[in-house]
């Protein structure tokens, strides 16, 4: 292994770039691009309130990363920072968002505001206020725990408010568990699990990949064309297929022309 795996990583990036140059991006096709634009507009119009839950408790960081990436993509070009509202206990359990690590998900230091609140009621009060404020590119709400009945109630209350104000809010839920299936009445809802990312080989053991997820879309039938409820999609920082189809979202890297060294897998 080279020091820090740097040359291996560069080789891996070169291979990735060569593959893209040889095959071309899916969005190069004009027809697809138009379709993606239309889908994006549709998604933005209809789906202001998202729910993301980890498949298991240990997939919490993966779900948080997916939520942050979705927030950065949904809020791109909207102005204002991303607001992360978290219950104190959730931060103790899963860790505090780390500013130097936000860049990998397309979020700069100045584009991030964190609210750490002691009570769940405060979290939802702040979320409601933030939705009405129309000041944020996107809002991520992370309660420490949430009963299914409460989740439905909040979704019913906050989804119309988000649609009315044009805000993009993401409820980052704890895992539902086998006895409480993930069935909140939100059209855009995802169950996220960590997935081994494409990774460069180096010596005896390969280097870890970058962010990669296995996403199960649990939305109601017909709310997103081409996607069946329960369908599972593999997403990572080097792929666009699922996001461009489901959310019409490009990925953070390349959006701001930033150095790909720490952004692309």
């Amino acid at each position: 292994m080279s020091p820090g795996g740097r040359s291996d990583r560069i080789d891996f990036l070169r291979e990735a770039v060569a593959r893209i140059e040889a095959g071309g991006s899916s969005l190069e096709n004009k027809g697809l691009e138009d379709e993606a634009t239309r889908a994006e507009a549709r998604v933005r119009r209809r789906s202001a309130f998202f729910e993301i839950a980890p498949a298991a408790m240990s997939d919490g960081p993966a779900a948080a990363g997916f939520a942050l990436m979705a927030a950065s993509r949904l809020g791109a070009g909207e102005g204002g920072p991303i607001l992360w509202i978290a219950e104190e206990f959730a931060l103790l359990e899963s860790g505090v968002p780390h500013a130097p690590g936000l860049g990998l998900h397309g979020v700069g230091w100045g584009d991030f505001v964190l609210m750490r609140l002691p009570r769940r009621a405060d979290v939802f009060l702040a979320l409601e206020e933030a939705i009405r404020a129309r000041a944020f590119a996107a809002i991520v709400c992370e309660p420490a725990g949430l009963a299914e009945s409460d989740a439905r109630m909040f979704a019913r209350r906050l989804a119309p408010a988000a649609r009315a104000s044009g805000a993009r809010a993401i409820l980052l839920r704890p895992p539902a568990g086998p006895r409480a299936p993930f069935v909140a009445p939100t059209p855009m809802r995802f169950e996220v699990a960590a997935r081994p990312a494409p990774r460069p080989a180096a010596g005896r053991r390969p280097l870890p990949g970058f962010a990669a997820w296995r996403v199960r879309w649990t939305g109601p039938p017909g709310s997103l064309p081409g996607l069946e409820p329960g369908s599972v999609h593999d997403v990572d920082l080097s792929g666009e297929d699922f996001l461009s189809a489901a959310l019409s979202l490009r990925l953070p890297f390349g959006m701001d022309g930033a150095s790909p060294a720490c952004r692309v897998a």
């Binding site: 919490g60 920072p81 505090v96 130097p100 690590g101 230091w109 404020a133 081994p196 990312a197 280097l207």
Partner: protein, 430 residues
């Protein structure tokens, strides 16, 4: 009275600080005393030895404090003059004379104040220092013939005072950054409520809204204001004012580069509204939940992961751009534990990277690893010794990614690592 706890080293130590204060105030004939309790410092300054260095007592040394106070006259207890004179006439001239005497007869004859002061002087009873607040820049107040009790009345009074205050601010072309409402109760109790704004405020409704949020928070956390028999004086003060430039709120540098930019007045207007909405939201939430709960990360000049970003109140504004990443620095995790969690590891060789590790009672099989990235302790910042850390980015068989570190080095002899290096998980990647 100055509380210099933790600040004396900035002036070269306590002796240097005392010398500096005496030098600056020499023409006023000032004498200083430095001790663990306000009463002892007061007594030393007035009745202590002539040499300044003898009026500085060592911190945390109760015996030295008792020795130094024993020779001072009873008047140094800051008791009433008659009581001090009466004590002297009975032969109790020094503090040392009364320390070990039975308390009951002295209390019966000279009052409870003597031993209350003595206990405060010796650090046996609390004696807080009442801070002197800065004089406000602008003040508006309203008096009432009878005390007002209802929260609605108090809020409407604040809104009315905010209008008066904003007129004053407008005359001086300033806006309020820091405000305080001071409520004077009929029975003499004073209650103060502070609020801060992230931009100069000159809008009465915004000021009233801030205090409404604060009152809401008070009623939630403390059961509301203790109104007693009511407040007969409500004062709204601007503690800190800044130049107010109306055009400034509609200006944003990023607007110059993008669509709807410099030439697009609508773009300016829209961005200005968004900025105002953001500032308004941050101010209101800071007032309601406390500034320490609405945060932005500011880059710090430190390579220690936990110190690389400092969470500051968002009302201080947007943080500066972080410095460019140093060459060869590894990826940083999305989430960082405030307290790294210990793990058990199994490695092929003692100083090798882990093959598997146990964290929160679950075993993780390592299938990919990057590292080590060595981070040495900041010996130039802290006198306390600490250990070198070797960081590893690790992926387990389920695709979960962790940021582990090994604290300490194999073979190194140190009192900090008696049982060899230890492993921790400090962060989690998406």
């Amino acid at each position: 009275m100055l509380d210099v706890a933790g600040a004396a080293h900035l002036f070269g130590g306590e002796a240097a600080l005392v010398a500096l204060v005496e030098e600056k105030l020499a023409r006023h004939g000032a004498r200083t005393g430095l001790a663990d309790t306000p009463e002892a410092a007061w007594a030393l300054a007035r009745y202590g030895p002539d040499l300044p260095r003898e009026r500085i007592l060592p911190a945390g040394d109760a015996k030295a404090l008792a020795r130094a106070m024993a020779n001072l006259p009873v008047a140094a207890l800051r008791i009433e003059l008659e009581a001090a004179r009466a004590l002297s006439q009975t032969g109790l001239k020094c503090i040392g004379d009364i320390v070990h005497r039975p308390r009951a007869p002295i209390v019966a004859r000279f009052g409870a104040q003597v031993f209350a002061r003595l206990d405060a002087m010796m650090g046996l009873a609390k004696s807080p220092i009442s801070p002197r607040f800065e004089a406000p820049a602008y003040v508006a107040e309203r008096r009432f013939a009878e005390g007002i009790l209802a929260r609605e009345q108090i809020e409407s009074t604040i809104a009315s005072l905010a209008r008066d205050l904003c007129d004053m601010l407008a005359r001086h072309d300033e806006g309020a950054r820091s405000l305080a409402v001071i409520l004077f109760r009929v029975d003499g109790v004073v209650r103060r409520i502070d609020c801060a704004a992230s931009r100069p405020l000159r809008e009465p409704s915004a000021i009233a809204r801030l205090f409404r949020e604060k009152m809401e928070a008070l009623s939630r956390d403390e059961g509301g204001l203790d109104v007693g028999y009511g407040f007969d004086l409500v004062r709204l003060a601007v503690m800190q004012a800044e130049k107010f430039t109306p055009g400034q709120s509609g200006f944003k540098l990023s607007n110059l580069a993008g669509p709807g930019s410099a030439n697009d007045s609508r773009g300016f207007h829209r961005v200005g509204r968004a900025d105002d909405a953001l500032a308004d939201f941050l101010d209101r939430m800071s007032a309601r939940f406390g500034a320490h709960r609405v945060l932005r990360f500011w880059p710090q000049d430190s390579h220690m992961p936990e110190a690389a970003a400092l969470a500051m109140p968002a009302s201080r504004g947007a943080p500066p751009q972080p410095p460019p990443e140093p060459e060869g620095r590894g990826l940083r995790p999305l989430r960082l534990f405030e307290k790294p969690e210990p793990i058990e590891t199994i490695a092929e060789v003692p100083d090798g990277p882990p093959l598997r590790f146990r964290w929160r009672r679950a075993m993780h099989e390592v299938v990919a690893i990057e590292g080590p990235e060595r981070i040495a302790p900041q010996w130039w910042k802290s006198a306390a010794p600490s250990l070198t850390r070797d960081y590893f980015r690790v992926e387990d068989s389920n695709g979960r990614r962790f940021w582990l570190y090994r604290e300490g080095l194999y073979g190194a002899q140190s009192a900090l690592q008696v049982n060899g290096p230890r492993w921790f998980v400090q962060g989690l990647f998406a």
